[in-house]
């Protein structure tokens, strides 16, 4: 039984992992783009983007999942997600990417804006180009500042992936729960917790390592 459950949960965890990795792959760069938009000097760009960030961060991810999955079908009378598992997965991924991109964008913005203007000016008076100042002076300071909050978000994402089951995306809890019905046992559900703990533990170690690597300098 244990082997069978483990195998089944591993399958479910693969769904969790796919959602987790793909969300990061798309939301991190999108978040950087959004952060530039939210810092734009052009009001016509800055205001709408800040509005969207406010809406996304101010409403539950669960609600966004439902709206993104069911919304198009009801409003446009066509299910743009297609039917079947893939459609539901893509819908869930879309909701996760939008949500996490907005959270990441605020972290990026905070990190970029926290670098004192004196750093840019010191680079400029030394004859460095804007690109050189950004890559040689600013970037690493931004990275150092954003690693802790990014690490928090990423570990939250591990757990948030379970929300996808609301639109029937197969992930690990779905699998664990199925044993209640099929075999009348609850321990597989607890077992899923072990997967989450191990995975988030691994990520914590990894981010801790990065933070230590960046510990050689300090910023005010």
């Amino acid at each position: 039984m244990f082997g069978e459950v483990t195998l089944s949960l591993l399958q479910g965890f693969w769904g969790t992992l796919k959602l987790f990795i793909l969300t990061l792959v798309f939301s991190l760069p999108l978040g950087l783009l959004i952060s530039f938009g939210s810092m734009s000097h052009v009001k016509l760009i800055r205001f709408p983007i800040r509005f969207i960030i406010w809406v996304i961060r101010g409403t539950p991810l669960m609600l966004q999942l439902l709206v993104i999955y069911f919304g198009p079908g009801i409003i446009l009378h066509s299910n743009i997600w297609g039917s079947g598992d893939t459609g539901r997965f893509v819908a869930a991924l879309t909701a996760f990417v939008i949500n996490y991109a907005c959270y990441f964008s605020e972290i990026f913005r905070g990190g970029i804006q926290s670098v004192p203007v004196g750093q840019y000016e010191a680079g400029a008076v030394l004859g460095m180009t804007k690109t050189q100042v950004f890559f040689r002076v600013i970037l690493l300071q931004v990275v150092k500042r954003i690693v802790p909050p990014i690490s928090n978000e990423v570990i939250t994402l591990v757990k948030d992936t379970s929300l996808a089951r609301i639109i029937a995306v197969y992930e690990i809890i779905w699998k664990g729960q199925s044993f209640i019905k099929s075999a009348g046992i609850i321990w597989p559900l607890f077992y899923t917790g072990v997967f989450y703990l191990l995975f988030s533990g691994l990520l914590t170690l990894m981010f801790g390592w990065i933070e230590r690597k960046l510990g050689f300098f300090e910023i005010k």
């Binding site: 004192p116 004196g118 750093q119 000016e121 010191a122 680079g123 400029a124 008076v125 030394l126 004859g127 460095m128 180009t129 804007k130 050189q132 040689r136 002076v137 690493l140 300071q141 150092k144 050689f216 300098f217 300090e218 910023i219 005010k220």
Partner: protein
């Protein structure tokens, strides 16, 4: 020919005119001090010279070459400004060292980038020169320290070495000791004094009056965005002509 000629510089922020018709000139090897109460426009003037601000009006000439002329509709491309600002060096009140680089790396970064661009990459020469400068600043045993491992006075001396590494024609100091604890100002003033003795061309904005009097050949008193009085520094400090200058100097002495 004067090494620096500043003519009729004006600069406004929104609706306040911060620099109102600033003109002065200085000679190679001179140290010029700029004094004046806070808000009188000293920082803004240095920032205009270093192209961190663009004057609304006026002319800036270095060695006869016009670097800025508000009347000439020249291109103000990043590239041209970059080249021009290399005539000046600027030491900030708050040091602004790059925290992720050691003292030595802070000094070498910009020269290395510039030499790489011009294709004359001579990293060894740059390194040797940086070590010499840090030695001159009394920091030969601190070259591998990161800024957070250095005292304020040491950080400011690294910043001075960093500015000197690019061989600026004119080195500007904006209140270099104002952010320092009193016991650390001495070491920074000492290296500026030794630079003056080596005839480094410098503009020093400072509130250290006796230091300014001793070190500078020429002094400028700014008040409310204008140069109220300027002259040889012993004259300006010992026999100020304007009532306002006298007030300012005696207020600081008491």
């Amino acid at each position: 020919m004067s090494i620096l000629e500043v003519r009729n510089i004006r600069k406004s922020f929104e609706h306040t005119e911060v620099l109102k018709d600033i003109s002065f000139s200085m000679e190679q090897g001179q140290a010029v001090s700029i004094i004046g109460s806070s808000g009188s426009g000293k920082t803004t003037l240095l920032r205009c010279l270093n192209f961190l601000e663009t004057p609304d009006e006026g002319i800036i000439r270095v060695n006869g070459e016009t670097l800025f002329d508000s009347a000439a509709a020249e291109s103000r491309s990043d590239a041209s400004i970059r080249k021009k600002r290399l005539h000046f060096g600027l030491v900030f009140q708050s040091f602004n060292l790059f925290p992720q680089y050691t003292a030595l790396e802070n000094v070498m970064l910009a020269p290395n980038l510039l030499s790489k661009e011009s294709g004359t990459a001579d990293r060894d020469a740059i390194r040797t020169r940086a070590l010499e400068l840090l030695d001159q600043m009394g920091l030969s045993d601190r070259t591998d320290r990161y800024p957070h491992q250095l005292s304020g006075g040491q950080q400011q001396r690294v910043a001075i070495a960093r500015a000197l590494a690019l061989h600026p024609d004119i080195l500007c100091f904006d209140e270099p000791t104002s952010a320092l604890d009193p016991e650390l100002t001495g070491e920074v003033l000492r290296v500026i004094r030794s630079l003056a003795e080596q005839k480094t061309t410098m503009i020093i904005v400072t509130h250290e009056m006796s230091f300014a009097r001793d070190v500078s050949d020429f002094a400028i008193f700014m008040d409310g965005g204008i140069i109220l009085e300027q002259g040889p520094s012993t004259e300006l400090f010992d026999n100020p002509k304007m009532e306002r200058t006298k007030q300012f100097l005696s207020a600081l002495q008491s």
